[in-house]
């Protein structure tokens, strides 16, 4: 790590800590931004680095959301009666119960999706290319439809997560969720950065570039693919658990297994920033979130139309993303040696 990087990291960290006090009105938006960055970064592990474009990470996100909330409720109160009473506050969590439940809930929300990813990984990751994409899309939507029919987690009418306990300070809810998501974001970043500096990343890239050849070179591709997907699932589950508490209400198809929104958003954010880079998804998620909130405010009602157009434009005209564009423009900054002769020859070829 050189000096410039250190300054950058310290700058971002101090901004992250100061942000909720600098912009107190945007605390919820900042927390959502953190969650979006986590989703985009972890999608990038198997979407960008491994080349397995999944629409199905929403499965782990939604699973984490339901699990975290159910554990938080189920640890202290009967779950069925809680969902039965809907939004009515017949049961009230004490602060100790709330935080205890949240901690256990997040743990479960991270571990169970990881196990699920490991279990289904062997069958699903044997598919390649667009079959994998469509199959995972099917998984995500099927999970939404099926969870919408299960009574104990609220079925079609939704599931209210435990309200934040009264600890004297009105601001504390926003601050708690912001710092929770920010800490998870930092952990995610450290983990992903660690992964990207090991041989594991090179293996993932080999799988992306030519899976058959990688296999012929003696790499057990299936093992690495499953591990890559499990890492994604771990952080997606955590992000889902936080988001459930933040939104306060879980609906099967509109909040949890929202394949049409969140499921596409994470792909889009990673592509917008640049697939297969460390910083790409982070930049992409930030830019996307700012754009999206702008749309939501100024084009109220037309936001999905704008979103559809945005997807088409990004995918067609900007498939390399911001990082890819920068890389083409300033290859020296990315440590690439450019041979002037070679470049000229390529221009002439075009």
């Amino acid at each position: 790590m050189n000096k410039n990087n250190l300054i950058l990291y310290i700058g971002i960290l101090s901004f992250g800590i100061a942000a909720p006090f600098l912009f107190p009105a945007f605390k919820v938006q900042l927390s959502i931004l953190c969650v979006l960055i986590i989703l985009a970064t972890t999608w990038n592990i198997q979407g960008g680095e491994m080349g397995y474009n999944s629409f199905g990470n929403i499965l782990f996100y939604g699973l984490g959301m339901y699990l975290c909330a159910s554990v938080q409720v189920g640890m202290f109160f009967p779950l069925a009666e809680w969902t039965e009473s809907g939004g009515e506050k017949t049961f009230v969590h004490t602060p100790a119960q709330f935080f205890q439940g949240m901690a256990v809930g997040l743990l479960v929300a991270a571990v169970v999706p990881t196990i699920v990813a490991g279990l289904i990984g062997y069958s699903i990751l044997g598919l390649r290319g667009h079959y994998f994409a469509i199959c995972t899309l099917g998984l995500g939507v099927a999970a939404g439809e099926i969870s919408g029919g299960i009574e104990i987690i609220g079925a079609g009418q939704g599931f209210t997560t435990p309200p934040f306990p009264d600890v004297g300070n009105l601001e504390s809810r926003g601050e708690f969720f912001y710092f929770l998501s920010f800490i998870v974001l930092i952990l995610t970043f450290i983990a992903v950065r660690g992964i990207y500096s090991t041989r594991f990343k090179l293996i993932l890239n080999a799988i992306r570039d030519n899976e058959d050849k990688a296999e012929a070179m003696g790499i057990q591709t299936m093992k690495y693919k499953i591990v890559g997907w499990m890492i994604s699932a771990f952080f997606c589950g955590l992000a889902g658990g936080i988001m459930g508490g933040l939104v306060g209400y879980i609906d099967s198809t509109d909040v949890a297994f929202d394949g049409r929104e969140m499921g596409v958003f994470m792909v889009l954010m990673a592509i917008l920033g640049g697939k297969g880079t460390l910083w790409g998804p982070i930049i992409g998620a930030t830019v996307f979130h700012i754009f999206k909130e702008g749309f939501w405010t100024f084009f109220l009602g037309w936001q999905y139309v704008a979103l559809g157009v945005l997807i088409v434009v990004i995918v067609i005209y900007f498939p390399e993303g911001i990082m890819g564009w920068l890389r083409e423009k300033y290859p020296e900054r990315f440590g690439e040696v450019v041979d002037e002769k070679d470049r000229k020859a390529q221009v002439e070829l075009k």
Binding site: S123, G129, G138, E145, I146, V267, L307, I311, V315
Partner: protein, 297 residues
């Protein structure tokens, strides 16, 4: 309600007949999917939304007092031009690219269409009433709406017309040549750009027919597109590209499966079971192929 199917055998007959009539409709949509997939090598997620848009055209004719069955003729004509417009704006830029790009781009179109239809027609579930009455079979134990029989008949008619057109006409031959080898077709003087546009237009027109029939027989809603896309995708991967009898058979099979899932699991799990079936079929094929160290391409 749960296990009525096993207690009253007549319900099984009902479900089978319903499923077959429904499946013929699915097969028509899937045929369009197979056509564009084979010729242009794109997967169109917006397929279902084109179907729903076609349905709304028929519904609007119904609102203005024209019999919705005429939608079967009007809707494909309008949808053909909608399809060509989509091709010119978006699809021609993704034809030669990675399949995933086409999936994402058409996903964008799908979201766009969904929301535009929601604005234009409202979020209500609607149907165009055709007043065709019903047919009773087997001592009045099995009830079949005539509109379903009509829709199956029209679907078969359109499919036969299309097959003959693809076999005999010049454009049909050009489309088949492009599907086999786009480069060679280009060298031999086929304007592939035009062929692609026509293919997408024909696909949209097929969606228009299917949509008009769905608005008569079932209900339409702006957000109901995605299941139709998944169904047609599923039918195509079971049958394979360019296998019309296979498409028809697997379409009917899917229809019957859905009706039974509806009776046995309950209506709320109907769409979920379709999506789950897709996953299961893909996984089954993956294991079958991996025995020969191959994978789905």
């Amino acid at each position: 309600m749960d296990f009525l199917v096993f207690q009253y055998p007549m319900i099984s007959v009902q479900a089978c007949l319903d499923g077959i009539l429904l499946g013929i409709l699915f097969a028509l949509i899937a045929y369009g999917m197979a056509l564009q997939w084979g010729v242009m090598n794109i997967i169109n997620i917006a397929q279902g939304d084109l179907v729903i848009l076609g349905g709304y055209i028929a519904y609007f004719m119904y609102l203005y007092g024209i019999h919705p069955a005429w939608g079967v003729i009007v809707s494909p004509i309008i949808m053909f031009f909608v399809g060509i417009a989509i091709y010119k704006l978006v699809i021609n830029k993704v034809v030669d690219r990675d399949l995933f790009i086409s999936i994402l781009a058409t996903f964008g179109i799908s979201i766009l269409f969904m929301q535009l239809m929601n604005f234009a027609f409202g979020a209500d579930v609607v149907l165009a009433n055709s007043d065709y009455g019903t047919t009773m079979l087997f001592n009045n134990n099995v009830v079949l709406p005539n509109s379903k029989i009509f829709s199956a008949f029209i679907s078969i008619l359109f499919a036969i017309c299309l097959v003959i057109y693809m076999k005999k006409s010049k454009l049909g031959r050009a489309i088949r040549a492009t599907a086999q080898n786009a480069r060679a077709a280009k060298i031999l003087g086929v304007d592939t750009e035009k062929v692609y546009a026509a293919t997408f237009g024909i696909n949209a027109a097929l969606c228009g027919v299917a949509g008009a029939l769905i608005s008569i027989t079932f209900t339409i809603h702006p957000y109901m597109g995605l299941p139709y896309t998944i169904r047609s995708f599923m039918i195509v991967i079971i049958a394979g590209l360019g296998n019309l009898p296979g498409v028809a058979m697997s379409g009917m099979g899917l229809g019957v499966f859905e009706e039974f899932a509806d009776y046995i699991l309950g209506t709320e799990f109907r769409i979920g079971s379709v999506f789950l079936l897709l996953v299961l079929i893909l996984v089954y094929r993956r294991f079958k192929l991996s025995r020969k160290r191959e994978y789905l391409k």
